[in-house]
């Protein structure tokens, strides 16, 4: 009897092509040979050091992602962290890649927060005549200890436009570029640490591929509480391979500096999720 409906699709039609994988890199754990500099911590002297890692400081060769709503202080908080690292560790090379703000905005910003003035900054808008991919790859290849990218969305947008890539390909490129520099594959053999500012959807959900999620060692969010809950602003890690999770560190922007005012462990309560 003839079957009704659409003919069954050949299941292998759209399956990826299988290639022979080289597993020669499988190794015994005792044979792992890791450069000791990959275990360095970059101290900022801020209480944030103690949340980021149990050793106190930003671990080398890692990737930290910070997300939160616009205007909550993501850039200010991470720039303050980076400037504090730079001030305490003159030998460290720190780079701020500004895709969100231009020179004029940053000038005003630095007048308000003079400590930011010590940070080397690349304005993406200065290099619009070049392919964003080349700009990012070449500047990173100079070798930096700590890199702040503001924001992932802006950089990816530029890379996609300049190369006609879709979002997945661009994200994959960014992940590969970060990992390459994490491993010290740059001119000065620096085991770069990346701090990435990412946007969130309206529901507060992470925007990005699984590949990017896996690359990130620590993910934190900045949240502003409702007035009924105290109206405070806090940073909290919800993923952290090296440090604390579910601890809210409250802060305020007061005049020319960030003041960390209170620490609270997150308590699971009904209606806790905003």
């Amino acid at each position: 009897m003839k079957k009704r409906g659409r003919p069954a699709k050949n299941k292998t039609e759209n399956a990826p092509v299988h290639v022979q994988i080289d597993f020669s890199q499988i190794t015994k754990l005792k044979n792992l040979n890791i450069d000791e500099r990959m275990f360095d911590q970059m101290e900022s002297g801020l209480i944030l050091d103690d949340l980021i890692s149990h050793e106190g400081g930003i671990p080398s060769a890692t990737n930290l992602m910070l997300f939160g709503d616009p205007g909550t202080g993501k850039t200010t908080l991470l720039l303050d962290l980076m400037a504090s690292v730079q001030l305490r560790n003159k030998e460290r090379k720190c780079l701020f890649i500004s895709g969100e703000m231009g020179k004029k905005q940053m000038f005003k910003y630095t007048q308000r927060f003079p400590q930011f003035g010590t940070v080397d900054t690349l304005f993406v808008s200065d290099y619009t005549d070049y392919n964003t991919k080349d700009v990012i790859e070449q500047v990173l290849d100079m070798g930096w200890d700590l890199i702040l990218i503001d924001s992932v969305a802006e950089v990816l947008e530029g890379v996609r436009n300049d190369n006609g890539w879709d979002r997945k390909v661009a994200e994959s490129w960014l992940v590969d570029t970060c990992v390459k520099n994490n491993k010290g594959e740059n001119q000065t053999n620096k085991f770069s640490t990346f701090m990435l500012i990412q946007q969130v959807t309206k529901g507060g959900v992470f925007v990005g591929s699984n590949k990017m999620k896996h690359m990130v060692d620590a993910a934190a969010e900045i949240r502003r509480e409702k007035e009924s809950n105290g109206g405070g602003t806090y940073i909290m890690f919800n993923k952290n391979r090296n440090g604390m999770v579910d601890v809210k560190l409250y802060f305020q922007l007061t005049g020319t500096q960030i003041v960390y005012s209170n620490i609270e462990a997150r308590v699971e309560e009904e209606g806790d999720a905003e």
Partner: protein
Amino acid sequence: MMSLEKIEQDIKMVMDSNIPNEEKDKIIFRLEKKYRKNGGEKSLGNIQSNK
């Protein structure tokens, strides 16, 4: 050089927090070390009570 007042504030903030004791002890240990290195002389008890 870090400001002693700022380190004292951090120590007090951690002491007053509800984070698990094990974590709290580790952080306070590090902060106290930093505090002494910068010449701080108050006891932890006096820092907590703002004496």
